[in-house]
């Protein structure tokens, strides 16, 4: 067997895995702080990316665009907290989960309604096609670069959790809501913080994915890739999201390439889920997650 090719597949898998983690992070943040599984994360990615690219198309300078988009995502978070989370605060988590599916549809519609659905081209000035050659293996530079962004984002987030007041509050909330209040920040505020943060993560993910795929409706479907990542990595762990992403990325690519030859291509659509299913059966809380207390 061709080992250089194996390396290429393996590393390629790792790199796209990081891209999944990038999306998964948004889920983790919200789940960590509110126990809500936010199905709408994918739509938020779409919304952020669309906002960003359309503003650029209008000729708004990049930095300003970034600032505005962040602002928009924060507004979105506030809106969600007011309209959806507050009324559902003491509801069963499964109800909240279904509500976020509704939210997902709402945002998808809204995003395309105001920004239109034509493909937006996002050039970050990084050559998508250049690659390092290691032996006969090609390692795409853009993917490496995206991986670095994801990595640094994770770093920032973990620091944020460890050293800022809000961060600590969030972790407190994760443990129990009373504790959060004792930190002196009302729950609603905290939720706004979390969803804003998730929105900003979505923006980063959107920009990276968008520049890779072109900004369009389809990028909201990357969320579906992130779900098994979460199951495997654990819903509550930021590093877990990364490791989970890597496992899923590698797993599906290797399966597609080496298994696919025998049982037919297209495995990568379900392989991560089967992987997740196995993890669920053995260790429901995921590899890095905290033990699930009968919440859902």
């Amino acid at each position: 067997m061709d080992w250089w090719f194996f390396i290429e597949v393996f590393v390629g898998g790792l790199l796209s895995g990081v891209m999944y983690s990038l999306v998964a992070l948004g889920f983790v943040l919200i789940f960590k702080a509110s126990g809500v599984f936010n199905f709408a994360q994918g739509a938020m990615v779409l919304f952020a990316a669309l906002t960003f690219v359309r503003l650029l198309e209008m000729g708004v300078p990049a930095l300003l665009t970034m600032a505005i988009t962040i602002g928009v995502m924060i507004l979105l978070a506030i809106f969600i907290e007011r309209v959806m989370l507050r009324p559902l605060v003491n509801q069963d988590l499964i109800i909240l989960f279904m509500a976020t599916i509704g939210l997902n549809y709402f945002i998808e519609g809204f995003a395309q309604l105001i920004w239109g659905s034509h493909v937006g081209v996002l050039d970050l000035g990084v050559d998508q096609y250049a690659a390092f050659e290691i032996g006969n293996a090609l390692i795409n530079k853009f993917d490496v670069w995206a991986a670095l962004i994801a990595g640094s984002l994770v770093l920032v987030l973990s620091l944020f959790f460890r050293f800022t007041v809000i961060g600590r509050a969030l972790r407190a909330v994760a443990d129990d809501h009373q504790a959060a209040l004792s930190v002196g920040i009302p729950l609603s505020t905290i939720w706004v913080y979390v969803w804003s943060t998730a929105g900003i993560v979505a923006l980063v993910a959107g920009v990276v994915w968008g520049s890779k795929l072109g900004v369009q409706f389809a990028i909201s479907t990357v969320a579906l890739k992130a779900i098994p990542v979460l199951i495997i990595g654990g819903f509550t762990s930021v590093p877990g999201a990364i490791i989970g992403g890597l496992i899923v990325g590698c797993g599906e690519k290797l399966a597609e390439v080496y298994l696919g030859t025998y049982i037919g291509y297209g495995i990568e659509n379900w392989f991560p889920y089967m992987l997740a299913l196995i993890v669920l059966m053995i260790r429901p809380e995921g590899l890095f997650g905290e033990k699930i207390i009968e919440r859902v």
């Binding site: 796209s16 096609y129 090609l138 795929l213 597609e256």
Partner: protein
């Protein structure tokens, strides 16, 4: 609030029932999809279609003095939604719907059985059910100009041209990267046939909908080390394929896309990756044909265009949409020649389509000379097997990459007839031609 909702529901239905009654007009149902994963392709096509109809009304006052009326219905590329649209629009207008164009293979399949009952023809230009080209079995379906299989033969010819002769195909490795759906699978059999005929090696690589993540697929393609890649993509898949191809160090000039991977949505996002990428088309690139000048003159300048003006120049799908309009109108025109200047019914238009004969003079008159090749439909041959034009993307726009390449009916026709015969046997149909 329940009651209020119900009452609004009712009131709306009443409204729409009384609203669209198109007296004394040819009714053209337009089933478009401006949304969903394929909206990016569907929207410009619909705009082109509608703009052309508007132009005809403005320029010629309709067809044979009878105005064209149309209603658009969003299918979101879903067969069940298309059926709903079909059922809703089929009886609109004084003489009922003239002809449907689903612009979706799945939808085509879904209404196949209903056409004969409703006596409404279907034009499926460059898509749909291939063996419907056999008019003796499928009297109501018209895969005009070129169907999937014919197209495929032209594609292989084109590759041979690049290589310098059909004999050069021997020993080549050709990868068929296709959308994992009825549309994508349709060319499997014909390619296999050609592979054995010309002695090239063929391997298929399916890409699951929507096809935004194809890394693994292209790793496989790369491992296969193909000389050429036939790209049978649709929607977001195509552009992603072109990108991944370059990432996998497969040169765009070695990629040949099909009809539906041949628009700017596919070639612009990949940037430099798509320079040199070529793809099949029913039409010549560019807009310097009379028909487009007329659309500008009678529609855009009048300020009642459906979409933005740039579309015409930088949207292949817009031009395809215009072509759809052209075929509809021409069929109606043909029908009026026989049945007189009154609103045409589906059945009458069916006759019109079946007797289409687009000679150069005719094309000249229609202002689309050289925009499309000339071809002729017969009862047996609902395709007219028009030649195919290949276009190459130069980084800014498409330009002709070949002459009109004729399709190889000697391969396609027998397969079509065999397949059609099988269908006829299943359904117990007798030949519609004599």
């Amino acid at each position: 609030m329940v009651y209020r909702k119900i009452s609004t529901v009712i009131s709306f239905f009443v409204l729409f029932l009384v609203s669209a009654s198109f007296a004394g007009e040819h009714f053209v149902p337009i089933t478009s999809y401006r949304t969903g994963p394929y909206g990016v392709n569907g929207a410009p096509a619909a705009n082109g279609f509608v703009d052309y109809l508007k132009m005809v009304n403005a320029r010629d006052g309709g067809v044979g003095g009878v105005k064209l009326a149309w209603e658009e219905c969003e299918t979101a590329y879903k067969p069940d939604r298309f059926i709903e649209c079909y059922e809703r629009l089929k009886n609109k207008g004084e003489a009922g719907a003239t002809v449907f164009q689903p612009l979706s293979t799945g939808s085509t399949y879904a209404v196949l059985d209903r056409l004969a009952v409703d006596k409404i023809p279907l034009i499926t230009m460059g898509y749909g059910r291939t063996d419907a080209s056999d008019g003796s079995v499928f009297p109501w379906v018209f895969p005009l100009m070129v169907n999937y299989w014919s197209l495929s033969t032209a594609k292989i010819k084109y590759i041979a041209e690049l290589e310098g002769g059909l004999d050069k195909l021997k020993g080549l490795k050709i990868a068929n990267v296709y959308h994992d759906s009825p549309y994508g699978k349709e060319t499997g059999p014909i390619l296999a046939k050609q592979a054995e005929l010309y002695g090239f090696d063929l391997k298929g690589f399916p890409v699951a909908h929507p096809g935004i993540d194809q890394k693994a697929t292209w790793l496989n393609v790369r491992r296969y080390k193909p000389d050429y890649v036939v790209l049978r993509g649709w929607g977001v898949m195509s552009q992603t394929s072109i990108k991944e191809a370059m990432r996998a160090r497969i040169d765009a000039s070695k990629m040949v896309g099909v009809l539906w991977s041949c628009s700017e949505q596919d070639t612009i996002p990949p940037g430099k990756a798509s320079i040199g990428y070529s793809c099949a088309s029913m039409i010549n690139p560019g807009t310097n044909y009379k028909v487009f000048q007329d659309i500008v003159k009678y529609v855009h300048d009048e300020g009642n265009a459906t979409g933005p003006k740039e579309e015409m120049a930088n949207q292949q799908m817009y031009r395809v949409g215009v072509l759809m309009g052209v075929m509809t109108v021409e069929s109606i025109a043909k029908a009026t020649e026989k049945f007189g200047n009154k609103p045409m019914s589906g059945e009458q238009v069916r006759w019109g389509i079946e007797n289409l004969n687009l000679t150069d003079e005719r094309l000249e008159k229609m202002g689309i000379k050289d925009f499309i090749p000339n071809f002729r439909v017969t009862c047996a041959d609902h395709e007219g097997s028009a030649p195919v034009k290949f276009q190459r993307w130069n980084g800014k726009s498409f330009e002709p990459a070949s002459d009109w390449i004729s399709t190889d009916q000697s391969i396609v026709r027998p397969m079509i007839e065999a397949s059609a015969a099988k269908y006829a046997a299943e359904k117990g149909l007798s030949s519609a031609c004599n």
